[in-house]
Symmetry: C2
Subunit: 189 residues, 2 copies
Amino acid sequence: MLTTPTSTKDKLVRAALEIGAQDGLESATTAAIAARAGVAEGTLYRHFPSKDDLLIEVYRGIKRRIFEAIIDGEDSDEAPDARLKRVWRRLYEAYRADTKAFMFGQRFAESALSKREGGAAHEQISTAVGRLRRDGIERGLFKDLPSDLLASLFFAPVGYMLKSELNGRTWTDAELDAAAEAVLDSIRA
Amino acid sequence: MLTTPTSTKDKLVRAALEIGAQDGLESATTAAIAARAGVAEGTLYRHFPSKDDLLIEVYRGIKRRIFEAIIDGEDSDEAPDARLKRVWRRLYEAYRADTKAFMFGQRFAESALSKREGGAAHEQISTAVGRLRRDGIERGLFKDLPSDLLASLFFAPVGYMLKSELNGRTWTDAELDAAAEAVLDSIRA
DNA sequence: GTCTATATTTGGATAGAC
DNA sequence: GTCTATCCAAATATAGAC
């Protein structure tokens, strides 16, 4: 999923991602990015109109990758709660497999740049979850909560637990399952 | 709670808080902070050794204020689940009453500065919640989840819902109660 | 303690040779 | 398309007068 970049443009994107994820967006200067990508500073401007546009491109790539990881292999024959639980696990594991993407996304969302590119990392996934919610409510499986409240309960622990993991905590498979189950418990009728 | 600053030092702290909360930490430059505080740029260095130290001081003040708002009037005679629910509401409302503090805190935690001052905004509150957890598990009220997993389920929706509110959504009192109840459901045995 | 003025560094971006 | 060299603006921090 994260292959070694070949083109200069890809090298720049990768370098910006790594620096921003590790040291914060304020450390992702043109000098630092170019050095890490192994190209000259001026070369950056052959591929992007500005440094900010490069960072926005990084963010868009992240959203694309995560979304693809989630929808991959969705099975629509199951009950809404089982599906929702699997979506939660998939989302968690997609970010866990790409912690740089997660860190960069978090930082991007808190930066001034998020005003140019919406901060919400998973609009597309949200609509998928929204459909499952409606289905679940109709079948009497879920509480009749507003969709954005349900989304808060559903998505929030993902980011929080990923940050713990970046601080050294490793969640076992059983713990992740318990977490997904707890999230479901919070919305079950 | 947020009185008008009197001393120059307070004015600087307040100015940095407001700019960082509104436009991101990268916008909180020495020039901008001094201008907003109504003092000269050089004056900042009479009160703080560096700009970063000023920002860290802002963050410490926030943690102090929020903690005081939470512990204020805790009642230890009730059952753990009722108490936990109230703590959740208090925490939410403390940040809601001080949205600048919340925004600044979020941004600070994602910045490179958080390496100098720990990113976790509520260690003290966590220990209080930890005590309630143990009590609840002993009485068979709560699932026997690791304390940090419980903390994730408990704290994560607070930040997520506050962000929604900053984006224009206003949670009604009934919705906040439903959220607190849902959080409790996620950890109840 | 505060101001004005300034030194110093760094960052974003461009020009022009190859 | 990439590099070297450079410009310009902005940001942190200091010096010295009041």
